[in-house]
Each structure stands twice: as C-alpha cells, then as structure tokens.
C-alpha cells in the first residue's frame, strides 16, 4: 500500500516537473518582456536619438532596435566554402534533420492516441495490445531522437561554417526567443525520457492516467518546438516585424506571426503525422516480411494497419491544408504564387501531383489487399475494378500538365503549346476535380474495408445501404459537375468552386464514416480478421507509401525553399553567393532521391539498433494468436 502511494507521489511529482519544464521558457521570457515594456519610456527620455521604422508587413511603426540585414558579397567572408556547392551541403543537413525531426514529433502523437485507446478500452486483452503497440512506437522514436539532436547540431555547424552572415542576421532577429527554443528542447528531451522509462512503473490505474498526461505534455512541447522552427522559415518567405532594411522593430510576435506561419503550422503538423505513420507502417512491413512465426506476422500486420490508418487519416486533409497555404502565398505575393504554380517551379508541382497520386493508389491497393484477411469481404472484390477506373481517371487528370516542353517541330505539329484535348485537363478546375475524386474513392475503400466482414443488423440497414450508395454517387456527380462548371464561368468566380468541392469530399468522409459506424454497431460478423494472413504485396505497398511520403516531403521542402529565388529573406536580405539560382528539375530530383536514400539507410540502422533492445517487453505479452486478435479501432 505504502509502495503504491509512494509511486503515486513520485508520478505526480514527475508530471509537475514536466509541466514546470513546459512553463520554464515562459517564465524565463518574462524579464525580456519587461525590458520590452520599459523600452518606450526610455525612448521618450531620449527621443532625439530614437529612430522609427515601418513594419514591411503589418505596416505599423516601431522603434528600430536591430541592425539592418547585412549586404553580403560573394567571397570567403560572407560565404566561406569548401570545394563543393555550399547550398547542397546545407540542403542535405537541413533535409535529414527535418526527416528525423518530423518523425520524432509525429510518433509521440501516435503513442498518445494509441495509449489513450488502450486506457479507455474495456477489453483487457485489447488494452494490453494497444499499450504494447504504443510502447513499440515510442521505442523506435527514442533511438531516432538522439540522431535528430545530432543532425540538429550538424545543421547549426553547417550554417555557421557556410552561411555565417545570414545565420548571424537570423539569430539576431530571433534572439528574444532563441533561449526559449533551447529550453523547449531540453524540456522535450527530459519529458521523453521520463515518459519512456516510466512506462513499466506506471502501467495501471491512476498512475496510467498520469503517464498518459505526460504524453500530452510531451506533445504540447513538441508542437510548440515545431511552431517556433516554422516561424524561421515563415520569416524567410514572408518577413514581418522588420522595416525595409531588415531592422528589427522590437515586436517579436510580429516576427513570429508572419503571413505564412499559420498555414505552414497546419500543413507541417498534418505532413509530419502522415510521414510518421508511413515510416512506422514501413517498419511494421519490414518486420512482417522478416517474421519467422505466425504470431509475429499477426502482430506486425496489425501494427502496419494501425500506422497506415493513422497516417492516411492525416494524409486526407493534407491537400486541403496545402491548398490553403498556396492561397495564402498568392495573397501575400501574387508573383510568388505564380513562380510556384505557373512559372519556374510549376513542373515540380506536376511531380508532386504524381507523388500524391501514388500515395493514394498505394493506400487503396493496401486496403483492397487487406480485405483478403476477412471472411465476407469477397463481395466487394468484383467492384474494385470500378474504383480502379475512378482512381486512374482522377490520377491522369491530376498529373496532366498545362503545357509541355517541346521542340519547335513538335510545337508546330501540335498547333500550339497546349494540346487541343489534353491541355484542357491542365487547369486548376480539372485538377481539383481529379484530386477530390481520388480522395472520395479512398474514403469509399475505407468504408468497404470497415464493413468487410460484417453484415448490419439494424432494422433500417437496407435504407442505410441505399442512402450510402446514393450519397457517394451524388458526391462524385457534384465534384465532376463543379469541375466542368468551372470552364464556363470567369476565373474570379471559378476560384471559389474548390470550397464546395472540398466540402463534398469531407461530407463523404465524416457523414459516411459516422453512418457506417452506426450501421455496424452490433453487426453480425462473418468471421474474425485473420491478422497476418495478408499478401506479401500489401507490405510492399506500405513500403512504397512510406518512400513516396519521404520523396514528396523532400520535394515540397525544396519547392518551398526555392520560391525565394535569390533571397535569403524575401525582399530583405539578398543571397549573393554563387549558388543563388534555381537548379534544374533533374538535379533537384537527384538530390531529393539521394536524401531519401540516405534517410532510409540511416533509419534502417536505427531500426536495427532498436531491435537490439527488444529483449524485454514491459507490458503483457506480444501479439495475440492470429484470428483471435481483437479488432483495432472503432468499428475496426
């Protein structure tokens, strides 16, 4: 009894320490705020010496408290170099840090969700399985965490060594919050280690809730860290809080809260989650393929499914967040938007569209394969060809370019730069239709998967099924209708059609998932899900999914960074290094591929390291027997 009380006290103390760590940066920042508050008074006294500037974005006046952005020149002083392109070195260091950073921020969020599902689950066996799964996830993340910190160090050294003038300017602007970032990092590390090593000690009852609360604190810290890091890239793309010479005007919130900060935050959270889900799913697939026993195969099949489902749950809203980001880019600087989607970088968006299509095709393929482990799901097999048709049509429209690079002879033969038929699919109206058809089809695949081995027993099942069929049918009709309608109305009206198109897709997602869950409550089971009895091909689809995520992340990072063209900080600090030009598409693609390859080789090493410590499982036994395994989430 005394020991339990002692554990409780210890756990509460640990939680308090974490909350204190979380609040520490706020407390530390109070004196600097106080200094800021005194500043106007001091300024009044010495008004003659005060210089005021106008914020380039907020258009407010402020007292100049920083130095102007340095005017760099091409030479070893501002751009020291090795006999290699400095930007490529920085690109590599940045990308690797981002991959690992995204992974270690996403996985604890999964852990939190899965641990919570375990805690609230009434089925003891299922609860243990969820707990084991969450533990497996955090174990992978922990090894990657050290590597993330090392890569962060390498990145800072790369900046200091190769771009000292730029890095000096950026850190001078963000000086008021730099120490907060560092302290948040310390808080993140401390919380993660207590969370991981406290797992076994806090596995039941009240202590489990304390443990779960720790995961919430951990994720709040992680998310704030990411928001702070996002403010740097937001500032580089759409600076605020400085005057036209780049002088800091004393309001750090303006510097952080730039035009693109919020869309970047939302896009990155969703992207990180989708990426994290993909990497864990690939890990599970790799372990599945390497498994020697049925039990292991069942466990890793289940793990792969959960990771994939979580990843795809965040992949579905990702294109909409991306659309919002692009809208904000256009609103901030129209020219920047045109460079991205209609100019220099437009071809990279065609590659991006291809990658998005591959992601959704892989997801759908996995789900159709996964139906093979359920008795009763055969009834859907004959309809899959229609889904393939819809997906392929949506995909082909989505990847069709507006214009094609051609020789003069080809141009003449085609009668212009735009193909008379296919050129029509190269506009936004068609592409919005294409991607919404793809996402709606993915939602439909998920609905089929969730009801694969079940037959609804509710009295209105027949009406429910017909209504669901009609809803999907009319959703497709509405999406395609809006895409066609867009060709007949002016651009300023057409641009608004994307909103009802997205709403149509989201209606299918939310309403049909809800309707399906209600219909499947107490449904008759045709047979259990036979975990582990899935085709090997499905696991390669998971690996494909993860690789496509990784490649697309590298591509989008490059596009976002390249849109600044020859600016370190857009319109404030010019990049005068010899590498201030946009690479060819081929070079960029090779570089991204190299980064992807390096990441996967290094993460395989991380997985291997993780497997060395896999000798002890702290919670219960490993996976259950295939066939007897409980179903993982919601109706599934």
């Amino acid at each position: 009894m005394g020991q339990v009380t002692g554990k409780k006290v210890f756990s509460i103390m640990a939680l308090c320490v974490m909350v204190s760590l979380l609040l520490l940066p706020v407390v530390v920042s109070i004196p600097s705020l106080a200094i800021g508050a005194d500043a106007p008074d001091a300024a009044k006294k010495d008004e003659a010496k005060v210089e005021k500037g106008r914020d380039v974005y907020y258009k407010t006046e402020g007292i100049v408290v920083g130095a102007p952005a340095p005017k760099t020149t091409d030479g070893p002083k501002d751009y020291p170099r090795y006999n290699f392109e400095s930007r490529v070195l920085l690109w590599f260091a940045n990308q690797q840090h981002l991959y690992y950073g995204s992974f270690v921020l996403a996985v604890p969020i999964f852990c939190m969700v899965i641990e919570f599902m375990g805690v609230v689950s009434k089925d003891k066996a299922l609860s243990k399985r969820y707990d084991q799964l969450a533990y497996d996830f955090i174990k992978i993340s922990l090894t990657a965490y050290s590597l993330t910190a090392i890569l962060g160090g390498i990145l800072i050294f790369t900046f200091l060594t190769l771009y000292p003038a730029f890095f000096g300017y950026l850190s001078s602007i963000f000086r008021p919050v730099m120490h907060i970032y560092a302290l948040m990092f310390v808080a993140e590390s401390g919380t993660l280690y207590i969370y991981y090593y406290g797992w076994d000690k806090m596995k039941e009852g009240f202590l489990k809730w304390i443990h779960l609360s720790m995961s919430v604190v951990l994720n709040v810290i992680g998310t704030l860290l990411m928001f702070l890091a996002n403010s740097w890239i937001g500032f580089m793309m759409s600076p605020a809080g400085v005057d036209e010479q780049g002088r800091f005007l004393g309001n750090i919130w303006h510097v952080i809260h730039t035009a693109l900060w919020n869309p970047l935050n939302v896009h990155r959270i969703l992207g990180n989650m989708a990426f994290g889900g993909g990497v864990v799913a690939a890990y599970a697939a790799y372990k599945f393929l390497a498994s020697k026993t049925e039990e292991d195969r069942a466990h890793y099949d289940w793990m792969g499914y959960i990771a994939m489902a979580l990843g795809v749950a965040f992949l579905i809203p990702l294109p909409f967040a991306g659309y919002w980001l692009m809208r904000e880019v256009y609103a901030y600087r129209q020219q920047m938007g045109i460079t991205l989607m209609g100019g220099l970088l437009a071809w990279l968006f065609i590659i991006q569209a291809t990658m998005i299509g591959i992601l959704f095709l892989s997801t759908n393929y996995y789900l159709w394969q996964a139906m093979g482990r359920m008795r009763g799901a055969e009834k859907y097999q004959r309809y899959i060809k229609y889904l393939v048709f819809l997906l392929v049509c949506g995909f082909l429209v989505f990847i069709t370019p507006h214009t094609i690079v051609m020789s003069p002879a080809e141009l003449k033969a085609m009668g212009g730069q735009q193909h008379p038929v296919l050129g029509n699919y190269g506009v936004m109206s068609a592409k919005n239709g294409g991607i919404n058809v793809i996402i709606t089809t993915t939602v439909l695949s998920f609905v089929w998967y969730m009801r694969g081995n079940k037959v609804s027993t509710v009295s209105w099942a027949k009406f429910g099924n017909i209504f669901m069929g009609c809803f999907f049918f009319f959703a497709y009709v509405n999406i395609i209708w809006l895409a066609i309608y867009g060709y007949y109305i002016p651009a300023n009206v057409r641009v608004g059609l994307s909103v009802p198109q997205v709403a149509t897709t989201l209606s299918c997602l939310f309403f049909m998932f809800a309707l399906n869950s209600v219909m499947m409550k107490g449904a008759k089971q045709m047979g259990p899900i036979e975990w582990g009895k899935i085709s090997v091909r499905s696991q390669y689809a998971l690996i494909m999914l993860a690789t496509a995520f990784t490649w697309m992340m590298g591509l989008m990072g490059y596009i976002r960074s390249s849109v600044r063209l020859f600016w370190h900080v857009n319109e404030i600090m010019r990049d005068n290094s010899p590498w201030a030009y946009t690479h060819t598409v081929g070079f960029a693609a090779n570089m991204i591929s190299f980064n992807v390859l390096f990441f996967w080789i290094s993460i395989l090493f991380v997985f291997w390291l993780g497997s060395l410590t896999a000798k002890k499982a702290p919670v219960g036994e490993k996976a259950g027997v295939p066939g007897g395994a409980p179903q993982p989430a919601g109706s599934h």
Binding site: K462, F463, I466, F467, G469, C470, F471, F473, F474, A475, V477, N478, L482, Y485, Y488, I489, P490, N492, V493, G496, L497, V499, P500, A503, T504, S507
Partner: protein, 40 residues
C-alpha cells in the same frame, strides 16, 4: 422492388438537395454567385 425504388428516390432527393445547398451556401459565404451562368 417497390421499396427499393422508394428508398432510392428518397435518398436521391436528400442528396441532391444537400449538395445543392453546399454548393450555393459555400459560394455565397465567399461572396460569389453559384448560379452565375444561369443568371446570365
């Protein structure tokens, strides 16, 4: 069979009405006219 047709009809009416409302109001919220082409 008759019941199935009734269910299809009811579902069709609900879905068409719902998606028309979605199209109309979401365009209206942006200050745009969904019926632009038909009013011209």
């Amino acid at each position: 069979m008759g019941q199935t047709i009734v269910y299809i009809l009811i579902s069709t009416v609900i879905c068409v009405a719902y998606f028309t409302l979605v199209d109309h109001y979401l365009m209206d919220m942006q200050g745009l006219d969904y019926w632009y082409l038909f009013r011209k």
